[in-house]
């Protein structure tokens, strides 16, 4: 006679992804490379922002690379490669987010230790990438002035997992009647104390401050300073 019984499991559903991501993060930290996971809606301007960042880092002699996720096409990889940095496209064929193993697979053959910065441009989506750790040290949430100031309130889950935020396309702020103060209040409401960079890939505004922040985070990583607390629980 088989008795009904209850197995107390108490495990994270995304355990496999979390374990691989942790392992990847340790590997990146040992190699001295700061990894940034960029998340936003489609059309926020992640690619333009990243292309500028890559070009500026390379001009300063800072080796960097990027992997970019999209459902289809390698258009973004081709745009990013114009910066001169090594870039690889991850085509997800319908999957709405990147997972750690997809990133790992696309890094094969790259000498990670020769890099100082690695950027992961996630699939444009403000919901699905939230729960997938990609082994990054910094999660950047981007919001463009054309999207409306209340985006953080509409997608608090994702903004709340970010370490830092960037407002993009500020050159269009006046035309969009963007309410800067309201946007900052909304970001603060869903992630108290998060640092926000106000940027334009077109004019270059805010990009040097962003790169200075990355340099600071990388220095701390190389020195072994514990990173600021993030995504507790």
């Amino acid at each position: 006679m088989i008795e009904p019984r209850i197995l107390e499991v108490r495990t994270k559903i995304l355990k496999k992804n979390d374990e691989l991501a942790r392992e990847m993060r340790e590997r990146f930290v040992r190699a001295g490379v700061l990894v940034v996971n960029m998340v936003s809606s489609p059309g926020t301007g992640k690619t333009a922002f990243l292309k500028q960042a890559l070009a500026r880092l390379l001009a300063r002699g800072e080796p960097c690379a990027a992997v970019v996720g999209d459902l289809e096409t390698d258009n973004d990889a081709r745009r990013l490669a114009e910066s001169g940095a090594p870039v690889r496209q991850i085509m997800t064929h319908g999957l709405c987010h990147l997972e750690a193993d997809m990133v790992e697979k696309h890094l094969e053959g790259w000498d990670i230790a020769s890099l100082r910065y690695l950027f992961i441009e996630n699939v444009g989506n403000l919901v699905c990438p939230t729960s997938w750790d990609l082994g990054e040290s910094v999660r950047l949430a981007l919001l463009s002035v054309t999207e409306g100031e209340d985006k953080p309130l509409k997608y608090p889950g994702l903004f709340n997992t970010a370490d830092v935020a960037a407002i993009t396309k500020i050159d269009l702020a006046a035309a969009c009647e963007f309410d800067r103060a309201k946007a900052l209040v909304n970001i603060e409401a869903v992630r108290p104390g998060m640092r926000v960079f106000e940027t334009s890939a077109k004019t270059g505004a805010g990009l040097d401050a962003w790169l200075a922040y990355l340099a600071e985070r990388r220095r701390a990583l190389v020195d072994g300073t514990p990173p600021p607390p993030r995504r507790s629980v």
């Binding site: 499991v9 108490r10 559903i13 995304l14 919901v127 889950g157 409401a189 869903v190």
Partner: protein, 128 residues
């Protein structure tokens, strides 16, 4: 719809558990889903029904326990539960806090294995 990926992981994990318990049919699966996990319960149920076919979970009930966000309020010196997920501040004194103590859960809590018909009847008898 990332719920499909999540439901697939749930089924994989449960099948592993069933195998190491020596096999059997699953009567129920209990998940703990935090308010900040960005998982839509209906989408998760829909996905679960798709991916469980032809597995030991084929007739399993999906139980979802939702967990509200709990933050630490430094001013009050205690954990407080938030009524929503749009303002990370103490609902009582208004102090903002990013110190999250609960609400991100995406956990498989337990798996209930079904007994055979006789054992289920016997178990019912014990309960009465």
């Amino acid at each position: 719809m990332h719920e499909l990926s999540i439901a697939s992981r749930v089924v994989e994990l449960v099948v592993e558990q069933v195998c190491s318990a020596g096999g059997g049919r699953v009567a129920a699966v209990t998940l703990k889903i935090g308010a900040l996990s960005c998982v839509h319960e209906d989408a998760l149920r829909f996905s679960f029904n798709l991916v469980r076919e032809e597995t030991p979970l084929a007739n399993a009930e999906l139980r979802v326990v939702t967990v509200p966000v709990v933050i630490w309020c430094a001013a009050c010196g205690r954990e407080v539960t938030l009524p929503g997920i749009q303002k990370f501040a103490c609902p009582e004194c208004g102090t903002p806090s990013g110190d999250i103590r609960a609400g991100r859960e995406l956990d498989l809590e337990s798996v209930e294995l079904a007994g055979d018909a006789a054992a289920v009847e016997a178990a019912k008898g014990r309960i009465i």
